[in-house]
């Protein structure tokens, strides 16, 4: 735990790294910071056109539900991609100065968190414009989901950033993985629909549903979704958590399992990073 105490002593450098990331990210672009918001908005627009109008499976208020899932997903995907290259890109610096190497993935996570918070502000504005009502009683569930997501993400970033110094393959592997992950996670496809589909179409529906929910990103994303009411025509309840527990009675166990997996990932990522960090300067 020496490493963590040292990170605390270097907290000012951490702030400097974050400030640098934010300043540099949109250098030489006219719209600058707005790009970090325009990119997801554009994706959301495309998906809304696709699933609200071209293949209308999204249901009512699809744009609000999609938006709510996309903001944390883009945070996850972008932070993971940035995190993978954060050490490899700074090998020259690592060869010149000693500082806790943990600051590199940590500052990448923090600057992406800043973008995420800005994304949330836009999301709040969108909800206000559309007069979306929130299910406030599920805020703790959603916040717990966010904690799970961040812990899992941090663990992945630690492992990926240190391994990518040795094997560039990690970067390409993760790029394909994140793509597939996006389609198989409850982001653009409403989870109740995905679970229903798996139940009807797969040869071993219980196994398929379990695999779907054992994706550590699935329970957090479903937890965010519970903030919005279930508004399907002819629904018996408008509490989304109830809809999910009707489909998957032990949803809360999957939620707990994702918390465990996230904690394990964080620990494993930290151990991998700690083991490899002294070799960063000797490579490249």
């Amino acid at each position: 735990m020496n490493e963590l105490a040292e990170v605390w002593r270097y907290r000012e450098l951490l702030l400097n790294f974050v400030r640098r990331d934010l300043k540099i990210r949109y250098k030489n672009s006219v719209l600058g910071f707005a790009w970090s918001l325009l990119n997801p908005l554009f994706q959301i627009l495309v998906l809304v056109i696709a699933f609200r109008y071209m293949m209308p499976v999204g249901g009512r208020n699809y744009s609000a539900k999609l938006f709510l899932a996309m903001v944390p997903w883009m945070f996850f995907a972008q932070a993971l991609m940035d995190g993978t290259s954060c050490v490899a890109e700074q090998v020259q610096l690592i060869k010149k100065v000693y500082f806790p190497r943990l600051l590199l993935p940590l500052s990448t996570l923090c600057s992406n968190l800043v973008h995420f918070v800005l994304g949330l502000a836009v999301l709040a504005g969108f909800f206000a414009l559309r007069h979306v009502t929130l299910e406030w009683s599920h805020v703790p569930l959603a916040l717990g989901g966010l904690a799970i997501q961040i812990a899992f993400l941090a663990g992945l970033m630690l492992a990926a950033s240190s391994l990518a110094v040795y094997y560039n393959d990690v970067k390409f592997m993760l790029m394909s993985l994140v793509q597939a992950w996006f389609f198989l996670s409850p982001v653009m496809l409403p989870p109740e629909m995905a679970l229903h589909g798996l139940q009807q179409q797969m040869p071993f529906p219980q196994v398929a549903k379990a695999i779907y929910l054992l994706n550590p990103m699935a329970p957090p994303l479903i937890a965010y979704r519970t903030l919005l009411p279930h508004d399907a025509v002819g629904a018996t309840t408008n509490d989304y958590l109830q809809v999910i527990t009707q489909l998957v009675p032990d949803f809360m166990s999957y939620y707990a399992a994702s918390a465990l997996v996230a904690a394990a990932m964080l620990l494993v990522g930290f151990l991998i990073f700690r083991r490899l960090q002294w070799h960063f300067a000797e490579l490249g």
């Binding site: 450098l13 790294f17 610096l93 010149k96 000693y98 094997y167 002294w278 300067a281 000797e282």
Partner: protein
Amino acid sequence: MAYSPAIVVNQVCKAFSLPHERIVTLKGALLKALRGRSGKDTFVALKGVSFSVQPGEVLGIIGANGSGKSTLLSMIARIYLPTSGQVTTRGRVCALLGLGAGMNPELSGRDNVFLNAALYGLRRQQVEARYGAIADFSELGDFMLAPMRTYSSGMFTRLAFAVAVHLDPDILLLDEVLAVGDEHFSRKCSEKLVEIRSSGATIVLVSHQLRQVAQLCPRAIWLHHGEMMMDGPTDQVAEAYVSKCG
């Protein structure tokens, strides 16, 4: 404790695995496993080096290319861990193993001063207190607020060195970074170094230029193929070095 050394290097060995032995592909990994090689192809950069430096002492390290000078300095700076043996330091270490570490061309000179100084462990207030002196020393004037990509290489070096000499470390490690800029600026840097030395900082200097080492350091160490050949007064060490390698 008053006389405990600032730097202790105790029986330090450093071995690097040779780059061509790095497994970069799956095929390579499989081939290597099939051949049953244990991957022991290493290059030993330092072989059991020991010495200590007292607080306020100025030590020069001389030796031919590839003698392990820079490796040794990097190890005191905690860039590398020794393969065996220990290195201990007391106080804040600033290693100038290359100028302008972490400086970013997109940021202004001013932002880079804060970033670069933070990398060497300075607090924000400390940088603010020194900022005027750094800006003066660099002679950059209004360019401090312009992005560094607009700088000439001379301006870049001047700013990097201006930060470097204002870090006020307990231990300063220098790797052949002194010969920078034009003659006027180079002289200014040498003067500043004498000032740092008289302020009581411990300095370790690695250089090819014997003249420079002789000027600044009363004591020198001679490394040859990773082994310490001699440790003593600079004129004697330099003489032995020149007669063997000169």
